[in-house]
Symmetry: none
Subunit: 132 residues, 4 copies
């Protein structure tokens, strides 16, 4: 089973509520298990750069089946995967805010959040996933 | 005044209702006056190609301040703008489904719809704009 | 249910046998329902351009849930979707040789073939799908 | 003499057997001496990011006539080739898993493996080359 729009919007709603709570306008994206975009919302006053970063964080989380925060360490100059962020035309994002979504152990999609500090992005992404 | 997320979601809602009415799953995008994505929903079973096409139709409508359906004629081999669809890394879409949104004569954004025939896309895009 | 490697290799085998039969070296690609590559074989002496074309024909068939041969008409200067082949960084291929694969009415992937005339590519693609 | 499909499939087979043995689903690619893709298999449950990484590791090994693991050191901020991974639209991969294949001292192609840790990728790549 894959994510559908209804579920994606529930995830967006939870994430947006958290973003309002911490008072940081965010861009939030949800992709399916193939990495293809399902839904995206840009909150008012969110950074424009966050549009692409949010979408690509979700994409990255699906591509690597891991939280993008884990990639931060791996992609550093002394990390095992230094240079990986060039892959897929630069779409691989090596810092936190993208989290894969699993159901019964199977990847069904991911959320990507951008707009605050990395820590804030992660908090909002986790809030989004709590909808499931 | 520019579009905001609240207004974008109203537009998406109207468009989605029309898409349900004509029984065609669609991808629907709303961009602001800078051509930057505000909101995007992919309805269940919509074509994957429509993700990018919907976003780019909205982008095109802002870039040219015209309905993308008008561009169809202009971009043909004998048209005045033949080749324009190569611009912006191929993001200019020369067929219907993208419509700019004006308020008091000023461009404030655009909607882009993809997933049905071009006529269906246009119908859904117009339904979306009726929300304003 | 999605395609897996075992099934993809059966499809490749059938397609390759047909390519040998008509004496045309081909590139043959199989992608999953998300458009992501599963398997690819380039037969000896196949054209190098066919590597990318075969992969992109399969991608296109998934993106549009249709045979790429149908897109040939739609993408012509007077066709409804003229210009669509610019989408996805030029990955949309508007001529025959890409065929979506359905199981119980649900898209599970696609085959893409390139190396001969378009008619030959289609024949080989259909032979591949006969494996299912 | 260059690699051909038959030889490429033998290489893939050996690599896949090793991947099964260490219980890590992998993407495995073989390219010819021109860096052009000959064969590619994605094993079930392999990471999607590995599709492109595997192909690009093989490409990198041909482009530089060296194992991509050697490039890791060279591409670091203090390395002699810092920045090289931007070349060829980001296709140069600076970590292990790509190995050039020589015959009588002449480059005939390369294998690229992605899906596990870098060490696992290297082990599977070497197993693949043992087929020759």
């Amino acid at each position: 089973e894959n994510l559908n729009l209804e579920l994606a919007l529930k995830i967006l709603k939870k994430a947006e509520e958290k973003a309002v709570e911490i008072n940081k306008p965010m861009c939030i994206a949800v992709v399916d298990a193939g990495g293809n975009l399902l839904a995206f919302h840009r909150m008012d006053d969110a950074l424009l750069v966050s549009i692409e970063i949010a979408i690509n964080k979700a994409f990255t989380a699906v591509m690597l089946k891991m939280e993008t925060s884990r990639l931060a360490e791996l992609a550093k100059p002394n990390g095992e995967l230094f240079g990986i962020n060039n892959a897929y035309n630069g779409r691989i994002v090596p810092f936190g805010g993208g989290i894969p979504i699993f159901k019964n152990g199977k990847l069904i999609g991911a959320i990507g959040v951008s707009g605050g500090t990395v820590d804030e992005d992660v908090v909002v992404a986790k809030a989004g996933i709590s909808a499931i």
